[in-house]
Subunit: 335 residues, 2 copies
DNA sequence: CTGTTAGCGCTTTCAC
DNA sequence: GTGAAAGCGCTAACAG
């Protein structure tokens, strides 16, 4: 288990060149005779030499690492974003330092201790709001910060257009002829943030269609299937229950579907359900939803990071398109 | 964006002590007068000083980092394991370097380039088999390797007992009275590995119950809902279709359920379905399954890693318990 | 094109 | 208990 690591000095000696030349040759810096470079490389190869990234970082002043800060890694959306991010970062030989901040305590601790200090050249926060206090702490890192899968503070970001996604879902329902459509609104319970575009789209699409808004049809909860199930239960208690349900996410929608199923109601005959995300399992439930390209968001964010590291100018806001996917959970209201 | 980083030297100077003393004081190494230590700490605090991990690593010879190598980060199981791992590692101030190896090409590249070389003190591979060639490459890192969520080569590991999990699922079905039970076997298409305990349990439980094994009832595919759906379709084409289905995972089971639903068959009235995992969404589908503590596996693996780093003796095989969770997708066969 | 020489910012003997 | 000094392994001027 102990490392018999070869050093650059050793390589240089064996190749019969100076330290500097060896160094240049190995990261093909300019100013090395091709022959020399090949010789050095051959020796390095043969000794299976690898530079010590720590020594290199120290000398160079940059780390070659990026931090990804992510809540709920065990949820598809987050995992997929990270997967996308990692792939482009790795292609650029940038290492990923992972920080999972699940609950509020984690968050607090993260911003308090800033474990990433001095360890990365940039940090990307995945789909969670960064408050002013947090922002101030993050600034202490004095590195680039970007957001993936959602907007955070005023960092550059890549995400879908939530309003449009919501609009696509709502329009579908409205075009089918539904007028009593409920919204299962999801929020992050640890954060107070302005209503998301997904919520705005609900009201707006209804108004535009000339359908009065009934506040009783709006249920707010945390993201999650059980929460959606509970909210749906409440909705069923109404004297005039909805004929359609618009959920902020597929998981919430799947929860609602369970409640409907258990209540003996049929989907879509009795109630239509639409979600947002196009979670892989949504297809297995035949759930109509709004597809969002998640891995892509991760990849684009990765490219944004690389751009920043290269000191390029980057877009401060990149939106990826969403698309309605009609499956078997929606139909015209029964009359 | 430029780092106005304070150095140890600066702290030492301001505290009026030598470099060595400052260093000792800050990582409370023995041999520093309490008063001195407090003074140094105060100064460091006030300057919000943080050691340069790279310089520290370089001088000390260890990295304080662990690599997590994971396929399919966008799948619940993997994300949850990583989340568990990360939490205990972070508590121990060990950083996590993430390597996502999705497909075969990724894997090959990972083992070829060994991007983690010289960057970590240990690596944990999450639920994927490591062949002999791979193993040889990994050994080049000359660091500890452990496996989480499954056995790999002969590295120490933490996982469930697959045979037992399968046994629990099958026993349930058999006790309900099913005799025509199908198995939706899932395998990693990129790997050739011996049949998993989940498959062995199928045969064994049937044999023990005196039920003849009908090979036509076994369908093998990759892990995944769509695959499960397709396999179920094939099963329905049989002249004597099964009355119960045992799937290697919940995702596969959910796929099978969709096929059944679309075929107009009712669950569990016409066909019972049982999975393995207790995926969060399984509850939303009322799927009977075998629960496995996934985050826990991650955490225990994390502790194993920490033990190894401390040079403790560690268990070479840790099994966490699984448990049948009966929901509404299973019932006695209709007669 | 190539070698020498300083550091990069810490940790760690080894004396005091 | 404390400080001086020698690295850790590499990169980046700077001279040749």
């Amino acid at each position: 288990m102990s490392a018999p690591n070869v050093t650059l000095a050793e390589v240089a000696r064996r190749a019969g060149v100076g330290l500097a030349t060896a160094s240049r040759a190995l990261r093909d810096a300019p100013g090395v005779a091709p022959a020399t470079r090949d010789r050095v490389r051959a020796v390095a190869e043969q000794l299976s030499f690898v530079v010590s990234p720590d020594a290199s970082s120290l000398a160079r002043g940059t780390t070659g690492r990026v931090a990804i800060v992510v809540p709920h890694l065990d949820r598809w959306f987050f995992g997929a974003i990270v997967a996308g991010l990692e792939s482009v970062l790795r292609d650029a030989d940038v290492d990923v330092l992972l920080y999972h901040v699940g609950d509020l305590a984690d968050r607090r601790r993260f911003f308090e201790q800033l474990p990433a200090r001095r360890k990365v050249d940039a940090v990307v926060v995945v789909a969670f709001p960064v408050g002013d206090r947090d922002r101030a702490r993050l600034d202490l890192l004095s590195v680039h910060v970007v957001a993936a899968g959602g907007q955070s503070a005023d960092y550059p970001y890549v995400s879908i257009d939530d309003f449009q996604a919501g609009w696509q879902a709502m329009s579908h329902l409205i075009h089918l002829g539904h007028t009593r459509v409920a919204m299962l609104e999801a929020i992050d319970p640890d954060q107070s943030v302005p209503p998301s575009g997904r919520s705005l789209a609900y009201e707006r699409s209804l108004i535009d269609a000339g359908i009065p808004i009934d506040r009783a049809l709006i249920r707010t909860s945390a993201w999650g299937g059980e929460e959606g199930a509970a909210s749906m239960g409440a909705l069923l208690g109404l004297s005039a229950p909805p004929t359609a349900v618009y959920a902020h996410s597929d998981e919430v929608a799947l929860g609602a579907m369970r409640t409907l199923r258990r209540a003996g109601l049929r989907i879509p005959d009795d109630v239509s359900v639409v979600g947002i995300d196009d979670h892989p399992l949504a297809a297995l439930a035949d759930l109509t939803t709004v597809h969002q390209p998640v891995q892509l968001q991760g990849r684009l964010t990765g490219e944004m990071v690389l751009g920043l590291l290269r000191d390029d100018d980057v877009e401060v806001a990149v939106h990826v398109p969403t698309e309605l996917v009609v499956r078997a959970s929606t139909a015209p209201p029964r009359r």
